[in-house]
């Protein structure tokens, strides 16, 4: 039997973390309730006390907890991010997921025993970049941006001496992460610094005659006809009319589902599989984690991946294998 790929699962609340652990997560990633993590939504995330209790719960059940501190510190406010790293270590985190060069340097120097992963937000997408982070800051694992094909991932793994982790399910950021300014352009806030794309206080919905209009920062970015699936209110999935043509400028609303590519990803040398969705409920977490746990067990045993049943959970109720097997239009 081949070594099983590690399943890294999202948790936006302690209840979701328990649901992930119960459903078979090998590791759970989560963040503090502030701008230090890239899912800074109202009512979400962990206090210091909740994190320590949740890590103890996960460890009792044999799962690891990775703490995402993956936004870019604001000049003059670095202390908030430094404190987050120190508190994650004190709470017993198995690793921190970082994106910023300065924060990586700080962590390597002041918390050398704390395992460091590179966040997808850093968008390290070639062996030279990865080897630089590994050699300079002792980064052990790299979450690869969702712009690479399976062949490119295999090529990267041949030239590095570190683990790679790739997204296999959930909402899709279609740009190189950490570099998208669409949200900043419309709302003044971005996932990169504020930890939130399309902040909900800039989002409003209006239903007229069954059609749902989604507004971001006052601009209508999408109108779903009666009965049609609705997407997240992100600009990259917006639908616009220009010169008489209406269409999605960047990407159709669809979620990533790479369950059919798991064997290929294992062959490409991928060590860990990441499920997106810290903003989702414990119902989503339980169902997706259970399904993917069965899938990674099947791959490790050389069996075919069981057919998925997750379509209803996907944005736009449509799934894509993203860039892994993509021909760009």
């Amino acid at each position: 039997m081949a070594e099983m790929m590690e399943l890294v699962c999202p948790a936006g609340t302690p209840a979701a973390l328990r649901a992930a652990v119960e459903a078979g997560a090998h590791a759970v990633y989560c963040g503090f309730a502030d701008e230090t993590n890239a899912r800074n939504f109202p009512g979400l995330n962990f206090s210091r006390v909740e994190l320590a209790e949740s890590i103890a719960h996960a460890h009792r059940h044999g799962a690891k907890v990775l703490v995402a501190i993956n936004t870019f510190p604001r000049a003059g406010a670095e202390e908030t991010w430094h404190r987050a790293v120190a508190d994650a270590e004190a709470a017993g985190a198995d690793a921190v997921i970082l994106a910023d060069l300065g924060l990586l340097a700080h962590t390597a120097e002041h918390h050398p025993g704390l395992r460091r992963h590179l966040s997808v937000q850093a968008a390290a997408a070639n062996p030279d970049a990865i080897n630089f982070y590994a050699e300079t800051f002792g980064v052990r694992r790299f979450v690869l941006p969702r712009v690479l094909t399976v062949a490119e991932i295999a090529a990267i793994n041949r030239e590095i001496d570190a683990e790679t982790e790739v997204f296999v399910f959930g909402g899709l950021c279609v740009m190189a992460e950490g570099r998208c300014s669409l949200s900043s352009y419309v709302t003044g806030r971005s996932p990169n610094v504020d930890g939130v794309c399309s902040p909900p206080d800039h989002v409003s919905y209006e239903e007229t005659d069954g059609a749902l209009a989604a507004r971001l920062g006052g601009f209508t970015i999408h109108r779903s006809p009666k009965g049609a699936p609705a997407p997240y209110p992100t600009l990259c999935k917006g639908c616009f009319t220009s010169e008489g043509v209406t269409g999605h400028v960047f990407e159709d609303p669809a979620s990533l589902d790479a369950s059919e590519l798991l064997s290929a990803l294992a062959d490409a040398g991928v060590r860990a599989l990441k499920i997106e969705g810290r903003q989702r409920s414990r119902a989503y977490v339980g169902q997706v984690v259970r399904s993917f746990r069965a899938a990674v067990e099947a791959v490790a045993a050389g069996r075919p991946v069981p057919p998925g049943t997750l379509a209803a959970l996907t944005e736009g109720q449509a799934a894509t294998s993203g860039a892994y097997a993509k021909t760009w239009r």
């Binding site: 652990v21 939504f41 109202p42 009512g43 409003s204 209006e206 749902l212 339980g286 959970l313 736009g316």
Partner: protein, 178 residues
């Protein structure tokens, strides 16, 4: 959890019509007591709501002829029941089974939004905060009701199951995490 949003049960019309004939105002008292009790037993709920605890949430079961207005601020937490849409900072609308299923962790809020079974109007941040706070609280409405009824609570069990069967709405939490 449901694989398909199409599987969300809709309250049978005669039942909804029957409920519509009840006087609504007196329902506010027991519902307020229930909400105060839930808040007292789950302090994390109000912490997660943060500043949005001060908001008024209109919860509109689209298969019932009434809307609940929740005001979760612990100082004066109360619920009122309205036959016409009340003024509120947020309106969350969907079939009763979907709304209760969200409380019990049977459905995912984003999935219900994608499938258009859930409609959110007004302050989107407040709606998200409420949804996340409730998801974390792992509430079981049947258990809360039984606690409220004190020693009579156990006698409520068959009644709760009967209402659940007749309405298609699951009144109990589906999963238990260890």
């Amino acid at each position: 959890m449901s694989d398909s949003a199409a599987m969300i049960p809709i309250l049978p019309r005669p039942l909804a019509a029957g409920l519509g004939m009840l006087p609504l105002a007196p329902l506010g008292y027991p519902l307020s007591t229930l909400m105060r009790r839930v808040i007292a037993r789950n302090p994390g709920l109000i912490e997660r709501l943060g500043p949005y605890r001060a908001c008024r949430f209109a919860i509109d079961p689209t298969d019932l002829p009434c809307t609940l207005l929740l005001h979760p601020d612990p100082v004066r937490a109360h619920v009122s029941v309205h036959s016409r849409p009340p003024e509120a900072e947020v309106r969350i609308a969907g079939p009763l089974a979907a709304l209760i299923g969200l409380v019990h962790g049977a459905y995912d809020g984003d999935a219900l939004f994608f499938s258009r079974d859930l409609v959110i109007e007004g302050d989107t941040s407040a709606a998200l905060a409420l949804r996340n706070a409730i998801d974390d609280a792992e509430l079981d409405l049947a258990a809360e009701l039984a606690l409220l009824a004190g020693p009579l609570g156990r006698m409520l069990d068959p009644l709760i199951d009967m209402v659940a069967r007749a309405s298609g709405v699951s009144l109990r939490r589906v999963e238990q995490n260890g």
